[in-house]
Amino acid sequence: MEREGVKLIFEESKNGRAAYTLPRPAVQHRDLLGKYRRKGLDLPQVSERQIAGHYQNLAELNFSPYAEMDPLGSCTMKYNPPLMESLAAQGGFRDIHPYQDESSIQGLLEVMYYLDLCLREITGMAAFTLQPSAGAHGESTGIMIGGAYLHSKGEGRTKILAPDSAHGTNPASVANLGFEYEQVDSNEKGWVDLADLKARMTEDVAIFMLTNPNTYGLFDPHIEEIAEIIHKKGGLLYYDGANLNAIMGKCRPADLGFDIVHVNLHKTFATPHAMGGPGAGPTGVREALKDYLPVPLVVRDGDRYRLTYDLANTIGKVKAFYGNISVLVKAFAYILMLGPKGLRTASETAVLHANYMQEVLKKRGFKFPYGDQHCMHECVMKYEGIDTLGQLLAERFKKLQATIHFPEANAYMMEPTETETKESLDDYIEAMVAADKAVKDPRAMEELEKGKIYTPIRKVNTKKGMSRPRLIEPEEEA
């Protein structure tokens, strides 16, 4: 694709063009809606051929994770099998209504029932809600469950803790529900600072939210002590499942002492990220909290499945209807496809790949502040000038940039996942080495700048974009 850009669909529009077809009118037309009826409506008027051209051209402006390895840390950009798309798109899952009679949705209820069982086994939890639409939505749900549980015991706990390395969604979920957020320090090893945790863990604290392995890609070895500190004060331990891809079949959040967990089906269970979503964030709890889950849940009576609303302390509903069904179907299919051994191999390979990248990059001169430890499924490099490096990787080497400036400034967090070949890891490493050389050596940079540009645009003028937003295309004057 040449760097010309694609016209806006509105610029393709002409009076008299249209793509739609509709049946002939079958009922008598009456004058309805008099006083409410709007005057104009300005949507694109284009042929179907133009729509096809437009979206094809837009698609080609994106770097696709099918074409390139996407090492975006904490996002688990593993391969999304097309098989799962076709399974989820079957009429019996896609074209059914949420209020259909239970007798007419037995096949789908079976999927939901067994997915719940699978997630229980993988995490060790007692029950799941499949309602949350995303990881952050799972966090809100989990906090509400935990909060309601403590509340019902007469405990008005107001605070929720998470480490400074937590995903931004953790503090945002806490604050948006009206709880007070307090940050816990990490120590020089990248683990939770136990002394700081102890000091902050008072009887005002409802929940401690932890990602383990954390966003440094490190498994916190003091997880039992952490759980003890929290439980001793009557609090709950929340597992942010964003990094579950590191530990499937190796250990289970419940066995580590966690009480509530959300899993990101769009990370660990290979459903696509879809430019931002839809994903799904099923949320699981221990036995004592089961009664607080959102309604309904799927249960089985003999050989029939049904939805039950019979939960005495339910927090209610966190979305309309039952969950992001197509995402659930895909994740379920993926679990059955891999099976127990396959899931474990996936985690082991994800961890192997991340350690391999960390090790080779270390040997090639890159700095890993926590590189004296083995990482889990992702590794965090520190690099002065990371913006330039990331831009070069994209613009000059056709590579997708990893997560930058997180969990701290100048960080480059890489999660290669288990589905990339060793060759693509090596290829990415070589690109990093070459880009690094250009960052440090003006002559190498000059040489590189003579070469091909792979991005459809140059670096975006973010300052201008932020200060002078243009958020919609103005309508043409009639």
Binding site: G5, V6, P44, G91, A172, D255, M275, A320, V351
Partner: protein
């Protein structure tokens, strides 16, 4: 399958080579940070619902999930609506939402490699604003119910007030979600009643005060009736509260423009625009607002700008509102959203265009719904529950029988009847919410009328 695990390319030789490079001998050396006694002994005990054990091959998986899909009838005539609408999805929508360049990438944090996503979202925002008449649209939320709850919090932030006034004519599941979302914090939900299937405006006016952050009213409301939104707007604005105009059936926007009726914020569900029903999700939540309120809107927003060479370019705007930058001060915790459904909406709206969307909404929903309203309403024992009210494509129908039993009889005729509204409103027992779309044609309505008449003669049992 012998040794390989599907989708994992790492061979034994790769594995030992990489372990050697790392300087360890076994994979478990990499897991040394996990206390040994906490590690799982043996394999996960996953259920094997297809019988015969796991893993399943592609063929076995297709068979099993194909069989399960076949258990759910999906080509019946469907008269259900109530927040999930059975509209036709043009083929081109599925083709392009199915392109890997759209369905596999992450959120477009790095603009240079995601221009396709960003431009598509900018176009989506523009189309939504042209429909509502407002100035800013986010690039999707999870669904209408969560969008409404987010809009309530947004209004609270904008006004510094904590009460949300909402009538019983709003979708019951949406109100449940609002209650759940606002359960803990310093917010109060104040309910207003129903009169003749519409918001009781007198009661609404009494409930709204200088503590009110927002008045939320849905139109067409849960019973399919158009609310008097101008009157609602006046009540809200007299008290300097914001008016959140809730749209659950987005197709109504083809004929009604919320900006004309005083909306400050339009929140809702746009599943009708090219997203399959999918048993209720994933759908497409949205919030539109005026530019003066944009710093408090939740969710991603794309701005048009330029690159360093001055060429047009698109990027995410206002990251300071978002969780990954502002953490506990963010306007929402939303991260993953429903961008693919927003793409579906843009393709859908481009396919119909201005004229097509209005023809679809008017001729094939509104007009046909009135046809059904009169035809079914004339059958002995049946009658519109709220005669004389203006509707869009749904109406509440009084029935001579308990609705569940009636619907089970209709299923025998390959018809999925309307919603049993008594499940949410005990006072409306024996009423059915009937929804008419372009997929329930005049012939389908005539057939339903014939069967209801036949059941009158024959009885239900």
């Amino acid at each position: 399958m012998k040794n390989h695990v599907p989708y994992i390319p790492t061979t034994e030789a790769d594995r030992s080579g990489m372990l050697a490079e790392i300087g360890v001998t076994a994979i478990d050396d990499l897991f040394e940070a996990i206390p040994r006694h906490l590690m799982l002994k043996g394999e996960l005990l996953l259920p094997s619902p297809a019988g015969g054990g796991l893993p399943l091959s592609e063929m076995e998986l297709k068979k099993y999930l194909g069989d399960l899909s076949a258990l759910n009838p999906h080509s019946y005539t469907c008269f259900l609506g109530a927040g999930c609408y059975n509209h036709y999805v043009p083929s081109i929508v599925d083709l392009f939402t199915g392109l890997p360049q759209f369905y596999t990438p992450y959120t477009p944090y790095k603009p240079e490699t995601n221009q396709g996503t960003l431009q598509a979202m900018y176009e989506y925002q523009t189309m939504m604003c042209r429909l509502t008449g407002l100035e800013v649209s986010n690039a999707s939320l999870y669904d209408g119910a969560t969008a409404m709850a987010e809009a309530a919090k947004m209004a609270s932030r904008l006004t510094g007030r904590t009460e949300i006034v909402i009538p019983g004519t709003v979708h019951p599941e949406y109100r449940q979600v609002l209650d759940t979302y606002l359960w803990y914090g310093d917010w109060q939900v104040v309910e207003a009643g129903i009169r003749d299937g519409k918001t009781d405006l007198k009661e609404l006016a009494q409930r709204v005060s200088d503590r009110t952050a927002a008045v939320i009213v849905q139109s067409p409301n849960f019973f399919g009736i158009l609310e008097d939104m101008e009157a609602v707007s006046e009540i809200a604005h007299k008290n300097e509260a914001l008016f959140i105009y809730l749209v659950v059936e987005a197709l109504s926007l083809a004929l009604i423009r919320p900006a004309d009726l005083g909306a400050d914020i339009v929140a809702g569900e746009a599943q009708s625009f090219g997203t399959h029903m999918s048993f209720g999700g994933p759908h497409l939540g949205f919030i539109n607002c005026y530019s003066r309120h944009k710093s408090k809107i939740p969710g991603r927003i794309v701005t048009k700008t330029e690159d360093i060479e001055g060429k047009p370019a698109y990027m995410l705007w206002g990251a300071a509102r978002e969780q990954h930058i502002s953490r506990s001060r963010a306007t929402s915790n939303i991260c993953s959203n429903h961008a693919l459904n927003a793409l579906a909406a843009s393709i859908y709206l481009s396919w119909y265009g201005s004229e097509g969307l209005q023809e679809l909404a008017d001729t094939h929903n509104l007009q046909t719904a009135y046809y059904a309203y009169e035809k079914i309403g004339r059958i002995p024992g049946y009658a519109p529950a709220f005669p004389g009210q203006e509707i869009f494509n749904e109406f509440l129908l009084r029935c001579p029988y308990e609705v569940g039993s009636l619907n089970r009889r209709l299923l025998d005729h390959s018809i999925i009847g309307g919603l049993d509204v008594g499940r949410f409103y005990p006072e409306y027992e024996r009423t059915m919410l009937l929804c008419i779309t372009e997929k329930t044609t005049k012939d389908d309505i005539d057939r339903l009328a014939d069967i209801l008449t036949y059941l009158n003669e024959k009885g239900l049992s």
